[in-house]
Subunit: 199 residues, 2 copies
């Protein structure tokens, strides 16, 4: 007894998604099989519509359905601060914090020589003309080895252009107990300590 | 700054899938956005094709693209043994073991009064006419509380019809160390011990 070919095809396509292995793909396929036809059609339509309507903003490379994205086309945003992030999802995460009113630049990845991702594969060349000497550039790549390496690379590239270059702070998560923090985070949190009454 | 509506729609549809929360759905949507158009079209087509071509076998309720499924339409299968499972995926798992040459019956679920799943919601009524007095019915529902309860319910329902009713064996997984087995499994493995030289 074998799977019908259309079931095999669906499982194969689903297992190409990140974080979905062959077993999860099989479970998903069986689940989808049990759903009403309208639900499947709505999912398929949403996939195609997203691919048709969405593109990257030509200025900051965030995802948008407009000519330039909401942030780039908003004149009330602070034009003197530029926050460099890895992925479009990071923009949403920062916007949600409500702490930032400047501009963004989305790299669409991190430097990863092991995986063949060099500076040419990221939107780094498009970043340079946006940077002015009287600006602050916040490097908000992840606190992974690759995120750190990318930040270091950008710092060396941008500093000659004259802007203030900063890196988002490392430290304990809000609500975290010291006891459960890993030693690297704790070391960084200690090194990045701030004098009280100065802020 | 807000997500474009087509991105919101895609995230909403993806997060309806089992085991995919809002965060995973967002990650999946961003991943899909980065993929070439052909890949998205192939996924959408596979979804629709699977829904169009697949249906349940009218005899055993396994998934098939033929009139009756491969097992039901194969005269070389042992017609005197019927294995009752919860889901179509279980059929594939048992077929893969290579230990079984009989027929199947797929319930499409387990009894779960807490979730409003009574006998009417499962393919139990369709099971009864398939059971003959000279048959063996193997109850191969899961070894969960609900799987056990469903097996007990079926046992009481089927025994008056005369077949031999059996339950798949509980025990240690092959390759498992006793030390790491949970106490319930170990208890069942001891209770189900088999005399050597008898098999």
């Amino acid at each position: 007894m074998k799977y019908p070919p259309s079931l095999v095809a669906l499982i194969r396509e689903l297992s190409r998604l990140p974080g979905i292995g062959p077993k999860s793909a099989q479970r998903l396929a069986f689940h989808l099989f049990e759903q009403p036809r309208e639900d499947i059609e709505r999912l398929a339509a949403a996939l195609l519509a997203a691919k048709t309507e969405l593109h990257t903003c030509p200025v900051c490379f965030n995802i948008t359905d407009a000519e330039t994205c909401d942030v780039c086309s908003d004149p009330t945003r602070d034009q003197s601060v530029l926050c460099v992030v890895e992925e479009p999802g990071d923009v949403i995460a920062i916007e949600r914090s409500g702490e930032y009113r400047g501009l963004y630049h989305v790299l669409h990845g991190v430097l990863s020589p092991m995986n063949g991702v060099g500076p040419d594969k990221l939107h780094i060349r498009d970043l340079l003309p946006r940077v002015q000497a009287d600006m602050e550039v916040i490097l908000a790549t992840g606190t992974t080895v690759e995120g750190d390496a990318t930040a270091l690379y950008l710092q060396r590239l941008l500093e000659p252009l004259g802007p203030t270059v900063s890196r988002i702070a490392y430290g304990l998560q809000v609500g975290a107990a010291l006891e459960y923090a890993d030693e690297v985070t704790l070391g960084r949190a200690l090194a990045g300590r701030q004098r009280l009454g100065q802020r």
